[in-house]
């Protein structure tokens, strides 16, 4: 009698349940990194302080200006203004997404969380914005529209081959 399909997959899953063990050195490396992190100024405090700095406020104003330009020239259904990267590394992410109920930013800087970094609607209809403080480096990210639709940033370079085919963009934040 042929094997039922579910039985086959159950057998495969059972075989995969106990792989060769992970090297215990990984645990030690994790805790070494965690202890090193703990000795630095907490990341979330740096972020919060930065968000309310005068430079951050200036960037919010710059972002609104960018929205106005982007919304005016928008001829496509969905487009964005490329992120800007001032010397203080506050980056404004702007997406023109008319009809969207929510937009968020997900990337390797927030562990691809769909809820950690929401964009805010602006006075320009259809334009959404958020400013994010970022350390120098290369980042992959995408916008998430209405909690489920992943959208690349049309104003930034695509990240081919990343995330197993999930669309994402790539951006480099320069060093000051």
């Amino acid at each position: 009698m042929p094997e039922r399909p579910d039985e086959l997959f159950a057998r495969v899953a059972a075989e995969l349940e106990h792989p060769a063990p992970m090297d215990r050195a990984v645990d030690a490396r994790v805790m070494a990194a965690v202890r090193a992190e703990a000795t630095r100024r907490p990341w979330f405090l740096r972020r919060r302080t930065f968000a309310w700095s005068p430079a951050g406020l200036l960037m919010r104003a710059a972002a609104v200006a960018a929205i106005a330009v982007g919304a005016t020239i928008a001829a496509l259904h969905l487009r964005s203004v490329p992120p800007t990267s001032p010397p203080d590394h506050t980056v404004a992410f702007v997406l023109y997404a008319p009809g969207a109920r929510s937009v968020s930013l997900a990337g390797d800087f927030n562990d691809w969380s769909k809820s950690a970094t929401p964009l805010h609607p602006t006075a320009s209809a259809g334009a959404w914005v958020v400013t994010v403080p970022l350390a120098p480096g290369r980042y992959h990210y995408a916008f998430v529209v209405d909690g489920k639709r992943w959208v690349t940033d049309p104003g930034a370079a695509p990240a081919p081959g990343d995330d197993f085919g999930k669309p994402s963009s790539v951006m480099t934040v320069g060093r000051s």
């Binding site: 399909p5 997959f9 899953a13 792989p19 063990p21 994790v30 992190e37 562990d111």
Partner: protein
């Protein structure tokens, strides 16, 4: 086996709060509680021991950095989501290197001799078949059948829609069935 969402959630939450209160060493308890499950997924999805170790390490360190933004009651699910995305990033960034062994060879050696060749062949067949799935199909199959997530949980983990995930699992199953058909008949 249970899904990641609520397994030992109250204990996780208590440990998370200790860490947030400044007890850095308590994070080792969270590492110990979740390492094996993280490793199992990373190992099978990336098919490379070094990449899988990097993925687990990066996920755990990133989770620590972002701990103030976590929901302590859902720590396990949140941590696993970070791992899934790290694996996607690493898998896309690095070319596949040599294939890893599928299972614990020590356990294999403890098996009865007459059973050894059959089990070894089965494991080799699974490794061969998994290598032939697309990364998306392998991810969908592992989340559904090995991690035993619901489609709703899978959607939350991956950001993909339920209908797309169902199709991906179906295609993965169709491919595995075809690939393993000869093995199961043997």
């Amino acid at each position: 086996m249970t899904g990641p969402t609520d397994r030992s959630a109250p204990d996780d939450a208590a440990i998370v709060r200790r860490v947030l209160d400044g007890d850095v060493e308590a994070y080792a308890d969270l590492v110990a509680r979740h390492r094996d499950r993280l490793w199992r997924y990373a190992f099978h999805i990336l098919r490379d021991r070094e990449d899988a170790e990097d993925a687990v390490q990066e996920a755990l360190v990133r989770a620590y950095r972002a701990l103030p933004r976590s929901e302590p009651d859902r720590f396990g699910s949140w941590l696993f989501q970070i791992l899934v995305n790290r694996c996607r990033t690493i898998g896309g960034r690095r070319g596949r290197r040599e294939r890893v062994q599928v299972a614990d060879e020590g356990a294999l050696e403890r098996a009865a001799v007459e059973d050894l060749s059959e089990r070894h062949a089965w494991r080799e067949a699974i490794a061969w078949a998994l290598d032939r799935l697309s990364a998306e199909q392998r991810e969908a199959f592992l989340l559904k059948y090995v991690e035993e997530l619901s489609y709703e949980e899978m959607a939350e983990m991956t950001g993909d829609g339920v209908s797309a995930l169902k199709m991906r699992v179906k295609r993965a199953c169709d491919a595995l069935r075809a690939l393993l058909e000869g093995v199961t008949r043997a």
